[in-house]
Symmetry: C2
Amino acid sequence: MAVNLLEPDLLLAVKGIRLASIAAGIKKSQENDLVLIQMSENSQCAAVFTQNLFCAAPVTIAREHLQLQAPRYLLINSGNANAGTGEQGLRDANKCCELLAKQAGCQAKEVLPFSTGVIGENLPVNNIENSMASLYQQLADDNWINAGRGIMTTDTKLKGISRQIKLQGKVVTVTGVAKGAGMIQPDMATMLSFIATDAAISKQLLQQCLIAAVNNSFNAITVDSDTSTNDACVLIATGQAGNEPITLNSENYQQLAQLINEVCLYLAQAIIRDAEGATKFVELQVNTARSVDDARQVAYTVAHSPLVKTALFASDPNWGRILAAVGRAGVDFDINKIQIYLNDICIVSKGGRDSAYTEEQGQKIMQQQEITIRIEMQTGEHSACIWTSDLSYDYVKINSEYRS
Amino acid sequence: MAVNLLEPDLLLAVKGIRLASIAAGIKKSQENDLVLIQMSENSQCAAVFTQNLFCAAPVTIAREHLQLQAPRYLLINSGNANAGTGEQGLRDANKCCELLAKQAGCQAKEVLPFSTGVIGENLPVNNIENSMASLYQQLADDNWINAGRGIMTTDTKLKGISRQIKLQGKVVTVTGVAKGAGMIQPDMATMLSFIATDAAISKQLLQQCLIAAVNNSFNAITVDSDTSTNDACVLIATGQAGNEPITLNSENYQQLAQLINEVCLYLAQAIIRDAEGATKFVELQVNTARSVDDARQVAYTVAHSPLVKTALFASDPNWGRILAAVGRAGVDFDINKIQIYLNDICIVSKGGRDSAYTEEQGQKIMQQQEITIRIEMQTGEHSACIWTSDLSYDYVKINSEYRS
């Protein structure tokens, strides 16, 4: 059901990164649900996490460990979010770190735990314990695709991408994977996504690079306005590409940052293309706004409107619903000046239907799988762009049958 | 499909009010779609309107007329919202007022126009013109039920109520009708609702009475977070009950205000019971909050969560979704102190599942048609209560087929 999303045939290995994936019996489906990512010594690791106050136990532990020590391992399970699990959840997440530390001969605080899946059920730590040895043995550098599959929940497609550039004559690789597919409105953080590069760069610059990339990618998508308890995005730099360490304001930094941006944007859009029940991929551009905040508020109000989303599902150019959503966004504008476009067709101007607009034009655009809704506020010079999906029968089906 | 909503067998006449309803051919279904409400001379009329910036043409005209003159007529059509129709929409709304004025021998500014239905299509003024004479001839005091039916769009049930009290030995009647059923999150206003009493009261007090009642009724419901372009609630007092005019702070004022509150609350809840596709009627109580705004923000965040709404539809006690919605509401609290209840069963305490909670308890409550979700923030002394519905296949069906 995903919208124009192809699974990658190949994801490139990143020097210094080894991965493993196994079925530990956490998912009822018996698919892979436990993933290990090992990074070489002296790797730098940057991360952003959910802003949901009810953050999951592994998020709490991962944040703590990241303050204490440079991590060597990411341990990720799917099928259980270990969220809303109180003290027991924290004990369980810590226990998993300890089990891996024992297996790998490292310290527990060198492990960052991640979980995704059902909220409110205790993590089956025994399953994880029983699978730890064989998981560890499977570590290999060409395992990105298996790792990407192992973190999936309601996702229908693997989401991953590799890109390369040359820095100082050295080939630098960036490979990343991500999972969606519901409870998606990342807020200053993202869904689960793991990205690695072999570029040499300081931790501080890497974090800066990640935050900039996430703001315009994972933080600019919404399926259903629900920010997950488990969102996390991790960016690793192993430093094994052989380039001179990248410094701030160097041309190399700009090049790498641009590459990270592209990878994050691809993965974020892939999450929307594979959103629960999605039949449309919709870009919301809000331009000529008084501020970026205003532009984002209008964009999210339209993107979250169930009436706009069901009209998109129905391929119905019911533009009155877009107009109504813009009008209630809580942002001031002049209804006689604002303009609303479907792709390049002006549908609303001078407070009503544009005089040149015809229903046939709107119908033709709405039948496409990829649609841009552009809103010109005419109140300033700021813009925002976000991406969303439609609201279909399948969204209701997937989310009413999720635990059954 | 409505949840525990019975249609009234009888709505009591209100002295000084006459009503008419007719099929003018605006709705494709050939059902009644044009309603006239006549009020006797010296009636007082209070009204609140949508805060949507893209308010409909009739809202603009009704607001203007209300400033100029005490109204004598409300002219309401369903099947076409006359919203997003620019200058033509304003001309059409004015034309309707003029047509009625000519028929009734009054001034156009003594008519308040209202519309509800599809946004963005021009009002078929010819249909209204052709029906005006016979509409006017049908005015009668026992026509409340017909009027209530004439304003319906996707509503499946007529929504109306009558209540009586004695003031100074005089029987005072309040009768009101309302329509939903989608694009519902009234904001400082409401959906279309028309309420009349024969009590004698000043316009200023009547408006105060209406605003207070609306705040805790029509402004405390949500189906889909979409504030309509056409929301309006009108409260008429004809002053023909024979009571002494009610003054501020009198016991009579409290009694009448209480009655208006009850009527508004019944009608607002009736809109939720008959919300598009609704199978559940859900009350969200947020208590011990730092402020009413905080409490409302938490309540609305939970009420708008598509994941909470689909879990309600599925009768699935997936309380993790409630917890996740509370956590992203943007309101500060201590996750170890907050408590979440389903009816009287505590489901979340100390940051996770309450130790006494069992899935069976949750399942039993979720299977009911009426459910209360109560959240104790433990950060202060303020409360808010709102009402909402679930998100079902039928919501998607109704809204993807609306214009077809």
